[in-house]
Symmetry: C2
Subunit: 466 residues, 2 copies
């Protein structure tokens, strides 16, 4: 009697039917571990299908560990002794909120939580067609170059496109001034590895990006926080702090700063560069939300033309976070050093990802997709701002775009209270302190405006008033 | 008169024809920079094609920087002011050969050189169909999860497959003991970041993997070289060195060691683990050539069950170097720490790559492809060994598999001479010193047997005898 039933009318291929049913039979113990499998020839004859089909199914069962192939003896059943994941990766409540907590809760979040202060976009805001069509073009064009290591600087045609995009921001580059990285995170990490050493001091923004703080900490680099205002870092304070601490570098997010959503004014950009010259520190300008802005305001790199500034970008925010492609632009000799460090740390980036991003960007679809996202975010920002003010919150500033607002409730002195109460309602609102270098308490917290129409969140925020 | 000519019988799509011809017209100055482009409607009417097609072509021209779109005014020509790459990345002759030279010459090699000691496989040895079919399945299955950040531990189904594969080597794991990394390189880098500090001493093999030396150096970790013999590290020497230097860790490549091709015997594996216990150091076991071996000899991790050993693997060598997927397995609490460091350094890996690798591995095709590669390499190893011995070379050992032999010419005392003479013949044979931690001179050098039938290489090696 045949244990496996194969149907010509199933939606599954013949191979998938055999593999699926055999796995079940083995998992359920119907087919005994260690027993010899029916030979390919006999299986094919019994089920009146081709031996080729059976061979393919058996090969997959071997790949999944359900069959062992013994030369000259045939196939034997070997039920895989693997176990399920023993626990949820990050229990939100179990850990004290710090930078690492934010990082882990952000990226290993349980799917039943509403991540209202995360950077994630809701799934239906993402344009999966962009990825899908990029993948199809890439599959069609795939040749052996796609099995070899890519260029350590990154896929040359994509770097060419980036030159054009940078030119659109008034930043002039040669190809050897652009290095592709595994997201903006690797770019910052390479700068630390390459140009900073333990004990160095660097200026950071307060509040700022939690992962930058974690990374500096792990490298033994000492951050000196500069308060962030609605039009950029507090430059009087910066002047005084630079005089006192002699920093080697500053990390700054000029436009759509996370978490506050604020943007650097051109006048402050000019003054910041003069201060950098005066105190002789370099600047890493993070502009990962560039495509969410739309307006071409001058960046630090526009004014300075990459003399003292490194300019960092990414496509994780507007194209796909699943492809890890960012870049850093700077003076050619520095970028060459960064490239050496990149090769030592990771050889090259993913050529597959780089070519996918190239395909997506080089077609008109990306621009339209980004325009749609901008439009949607502009509406959400407006609505979220109005709603928050109505409910007794103060907004740090009305952002020019992007997905974040930085808000405080006028009656609540520490946003850790909000975090606790939100967690009870199944909502993850990170306390603002995780965006501060020394985890200082703060009434402020970050909201992702894309979630601001979620009834659960609205109810929760309304309830805080009472 | 229409400048662009569109043909229905061209192999190119209408969009590609318009884009290609417009770029040429702009590059050649026929269409003047700054001039206004014909409107979409007029272009469509003149060429009797749909406005949708023209809009798509214009959008691509914008993406490539040849058009600027000005709201309510139309499109304007803006010839991209980007320049070609000004110089070749790595001039083989210009740099003294060291670890970084090996790294750069290895991965940015000019295509007119025969990279006879590189790790690259000849293009026609690679199974591009595996990548192509993986991409097609992935494109078909793509949903919004493919636009979000992936699991920081790595794509769960792939980690499940790895459990099965490790079980095949007698290594029992739970899913939380496996962390996907961006190639084996990131795995080693994370171990250094996480468990070692500046000034620590670690045991390495001599000769060994050049990139490991570079990375240790950049982290300020001091390598203590242990001579590699044909059946593993020299354990008497190791015992003495460990007593003297109190190393925190050892990096070892048990099977198909690069550059020598040698493999650790089970008895030496047992003794090495006892020495590690006695001197209390941990071991990172690199097994990136695992699938090139075929035989399931016990690994260090097989004997020790990941108590003291980290086991590192990769798919760059047998599937594709363009996808950057490796992994590290170890005790759960250590892997959890490694995961935090990975998130700080790079958030997550490429979910696209991880899913591609999963698709390729979970079908029978990968196993067959690897078997073909093994068969081909076995023949090449045999031929290369015979040929070298005939031409007056000594072989360090006859490898069990893989792509490398470690050889010396009996009349040449320093393989730097061979490097120089080979370079003049357009062949890149790295001097053996780049595989040694302190770049000590050596008569030995590494050959990739896949190139050993190349007439240019054969002629060169024959010529050395005279």
């Amino acid at each position: 009697m045949a244990l496996v039933r194969i149907s010509g009318s199933s939606e599954l291929s013949l191979v998938e039917q055999i593999v699926g049913q055999m796995k079940q039979l083995i998992d359920n113990g119907v087919v005994r571990n260690g027993s010899r499998a029916v030979s390919i020839r006999c299986f094919a004859r019994d089920h009146k299908i081709s031996a080729h089909t059976v061979a393919e199914a058996y090969a997959r069962l071997v790949a999944h560990g359900y069959y062992q192939s013994r030369p000259r003896s045939g196939f034997f059943v070997s039920r895989p002794q693997v176990y399920a994941h023993s626990s949820d990766a990050a229990e939100d409540g179990a850990m004290e909120p710090d930078h690492l907590w934010q990082l882990r809760s952000h990226f290993t979040m349980r799917h039943d939580r509403l991540g209202a202060s995360s950077g994630r976009m809701p799934s239906d805001w993402l344009d999966i067609d962009l990825i899908r069509s990029g993948m199809k073009s890439l599959a069609a064009k795939a040749d052996t170059s796609l099995a070899q290591y890519g260029d350590p600087y990154g896929y040359a045609p994509l770097r060419g496109l980036l030159q054009t995009r940078l030119l659109g921001l008034g930043i002039h580059t040669q190809p050897e001034q652009i290095l592709l990285t595994s997201g903006a995170t690797q770019a910052a990490d390479l700068v630390m590895r390459c140009f900073l050493k333990r004990g160095d001091r660097v200026l950071v923004e307060d509040p700022g990006y939690f992962n930058l703080f974690s990374n500096l900490h792990l490298h033994g680099i000492r951050p000196v926080p500069v308060p962030r205002k609605a039009d950029g870092p507090d430059l009087d304070m910066l002047d005084a702090l630079a005089r006192e601490h002699r920093p080697a570098m500053m990390f700054v997010q000029s436009m759509l700063h996370a978490p506050t959503g604020s943007s650097l004014s051109p006048a402050n950009a000019h003054r910041l560069l003069k201060l950098a010259e005066q105190h002789d520190f370099r600047i890493v300008e993070n502009d990962v939300y560039c495509d969410m802005l739309g307006l071409t305001l001058p960046r630090l790199a526009t004014l300075d033309q990459l003399a003292r500034v490194f300019y960092v970008g990414s496509f994780s925010k507007t194209l796909s976070s699943a492809t890890r492609v960012g870049f850093i632009a700077g003076a050619a000799q520095f970028v060459d050093e960064l490239c050496s460090h990149k090769m030592v740390a990771s050889i090259t980036g993913s050529q597959v990802d780089e070519r996918l991003v190239y395909h997506a960007l080089s077609e008109g679809q990306y621009r339209r997709s980004v325009e749609r996202m901008r439009y949607r975010l502009a509406n959400a920002l407006q609505m979220a701002g109005d709603m928050l003010e109505e409910q007794g919150f103060e907004i740090f500033c009305r952002p020019l775009g992007g997905k974040f607002v930085w808000a405080r409730h006028l009656q609540i002195d520490d946003s850790e209270d909000i975090w606790r109460r939100a967690a009870q309602a199944g909502i993850l609102i990170a306390p603002g302190k995780v965006f501060r270098n020394h985890l200082q308490a703060t009434p402020w917290f970050r909201l992702n405006v894309a979630y601001c129409t979620e009834p659960a969140l609205l109810n929760f925020l309304r309830g805080l008033r009472a």
